[in-house]
């Protein structure tokens, strides 16, 4: 049973805990005074962050947890404030005196700690990594995030689905179209609207464009972190080509606002030629990069995530598939009818993740031919009915899950679980046996989102 998400909501009389598994969801009611929740982290280690977040958001005590540290609330966050409670309505909070955070650290003769971040030595998002080192060897690493915590979940309460869209498409820039896709599915379900096939194909095509842009960026940056800068020049050029094409199709380089019910008109022949052109460039890149042995020396056996660990930590996306776990939300009749087949790797190392990105990019390009549709149908969504809705999509990082409760026409509870939220928790498993100089390489090979994780 794969854990997908675990989150709380506040009703008038009680808290409700929703735990989402791949086989279905479970609900649990707990009283509002002195609320206590039993941890499931022994069975599902990735429940730890969900439960720590539930505590920070709602003040629910987690019983039987082996980690009770704050997650979202950092050193200066005022104690005793639980912002997701309905009664919390502050728009400004004051800094508390600094309360040190107890990092996971291994002690012993000669073992030392290395702190990295939140501001890193490059153009990257902020987050903190804490290493226990024996010389160059990493003994342990802790990921600490939520520096980008914008309180998006709270921000969207009381909005209509349409009002929330502009924020939802800006939660994680690299996954904007995936976020819009899960939003679209909730809108369609809540309004009982049927999407015309041509529009569904066009939306899927746009989502694949986003995947291409992200994969190409990574195909450049991963070798760059092993000191092979030429690949970055090539990869970033490919990525720029996709962004420009995405702008031509949707009016925006990241596809903000791309998923609309208005329909997209495109020149099927020109698009087909463009796909051919990118495919031939990618083929050149592949034959070139496959032939550089010193690069593969760095990639092979670096940062291994075993299949057992990938399963135990309920990982998703590229990270899971490169370790041989075939989870992909595109495994549906619609995608399969357009030529989709799940791509997996075996060894779970940097080279497996790199090769998988390459294979997926090629597969995506093939599939895009089948998703081309010249028809530009539009559809109008009916009025939104109250209820509890959830939806899934496969972003460029992995499985994205969104749940929205609508009450009296507006959002009562907004929850989204970025694929990165699962995979960040498994990152430390890839470190033992590697040297700290390989950390950036291993981290980049997973290329997880900070913004989507922190919300």
């Amino acid at each position: 049973m794969r854990l997908i998400a675990r989150y709380a909501k506040e009703n008038e009389t009680h808290f409700e805990i929703v735990t989402v598994y791949d086989v279905g969801l479970e609900k649990e009611k707990i009283p509002k005074d002195a609320p206590v929740l039993h941890s499931i982290a022994v069975k599902h280690p990735a429940a730890v962050w969900f439960e720590r977040k539930i505590h920070d958001d709602f003040g629910i005590r987690i019983e039987g947890a082996f980690d009770n540290r704050p997650l979202v609330h950092q050193e200066r966050f005022p104690s005793g404030l639980y912002p997701m409670q309905k009664a919390f309505d502050k728009t400004q909070i004051e800094e508390d005196p600094y309360k040190p955070y107890a990092y996971e650290a291994i002690g012993g003769d000669g073992v030392f700690q290395v702190s990295v971040g939140p501001i890193h030595a490059g153009i990257i998002e902020p987050g903190h990594f804490h290493f226990s080192q024996a010389g160059e060897d990493m003994l342990h690493q802790e990921v600490r995030h939520f520096y980008k915590y914008r309180a998006v979940e709270k921000m969207l309460e009381g909005k209509t689905l349409w009002e929330a869209k502009a924020v939802i498409e800006r939660i994680s820039g690299n996954e904007s179209i995936a976020y819009q896709t899960v939003w679209r599915d909730i809108l369609l379900e809540a309004s009982g609207t049927e999407l015309p096939v041509s529009l569904r194909k066009t939306h899927a095509l746009l989502l694949e464009m986003e995947r291409l842009a992200h994969h190409f960026t990574d195909l450049g940056f991963i070798p760059n972190d092993a000191g092979f800068g030429a690949a970055l020049a090539y990869g970033s050029r490919l990525s720029e080509d996709v962004r420009r094409q995405l702008k031509a199709l949707s009016g925006h380089r990241f596809g903000f606002g791309a998923i609309s019910l208005e329909g997209v008109s495109m020149d099927r022949e020109a698009m087909s030629e463009w796909i051919e052109e990118i495919t031939s460039r990618l083929d050149f890149f592949e034959s070139w990069i496959n032939d550089i042995p010193s690069l593969w020396d760095r990639f092979d056996t670096t940062g291994i995530l075993s299949q057992q660990n990938a399963l135990a930590y309920d990982t998703v996306g590229i990270v899971a598939r490169a370790s041989g776990v075939a989870v992909d939300r595109r495994a549906t009749p619609f995608y399969e009818a357009h030529g989709f087949a799940v791509q997996t790797g075996e060894r779970g190392d940097v080279s497996a993740r790199f090769k998988l990105r390459l294979a997926e990019a090629k597969h995506t390009l093939e599939m895009m031919h089948n998703l081309l549709d010249e028809k530009s149908e539009k559809v109008e969504a009916g009025s939104v009915k109250d209820g509890e809705y959830h939806s899934f999509a496969e972003s460029s990082i992995g499985e994205l899950f969104m749940a929205i409760d609508i009450k009296e026409g507006v959002i009562e509870r907004f929850f989204v679980r970025d694929p990165s939220f699962m995979n960040w928790q498994a990152l430390h498993l890839m470190m033992p046996g590697n040297i700290i100089a390989d950390f950036p390489l291993i981290n980049k090979s997973c290329d997880l989102s900070y913004a989507g994780n922190d919300l």
Binding site: I123, P126, F256, A451
Partner: protein, 169 residues
Amino acid sequence: MLRFWNHRAATGLLTENPEIDKESAHLRKALKNEVKKKFAGSLAIRMVDSGSCNACEAECNALSNPYYDLERLGIYFVASPRHADVMLLSGLMTFNMTPHVLDAYKQIPEPKWVITLGDCPVMEAPFEKTFALNAPAKEHLPVAHHIPGCPPEPLAIIKGLLAFLKKID
């Protein structure tokens, strides 16, 4: 590797010069001149993300791709604030990032400038004010210039940097 060189000889030149339109060629020249005049040919930028969606960062990374290649104009993104002339600030100044942003600013040697990048740090993005946000950035830092956009495209960032350089003495 031999296979690669054989392949290259057989296929010929593949790194063709991407089309450079007149406007961006003009911009590049002006930018290079300004950097030479005001910063002795080398402008060092420390980019700090204070809670963005990562699109602004992706566009800044794009400035290094072969289409724009900002480094050859003397503009560098540096790893440490202590090497920087300018802090390029994106994001919503989250409650959790604010102390770190202010810390990074303190580490930049004088003279120094802050440029805000994108709609977030001026609170013009669709995000609403919550307790977790401290934007607008100008309430916390002396902002010398702003580059609007959500996110600003690479060419808009280049234009914005040029406008900043023209503004200062």
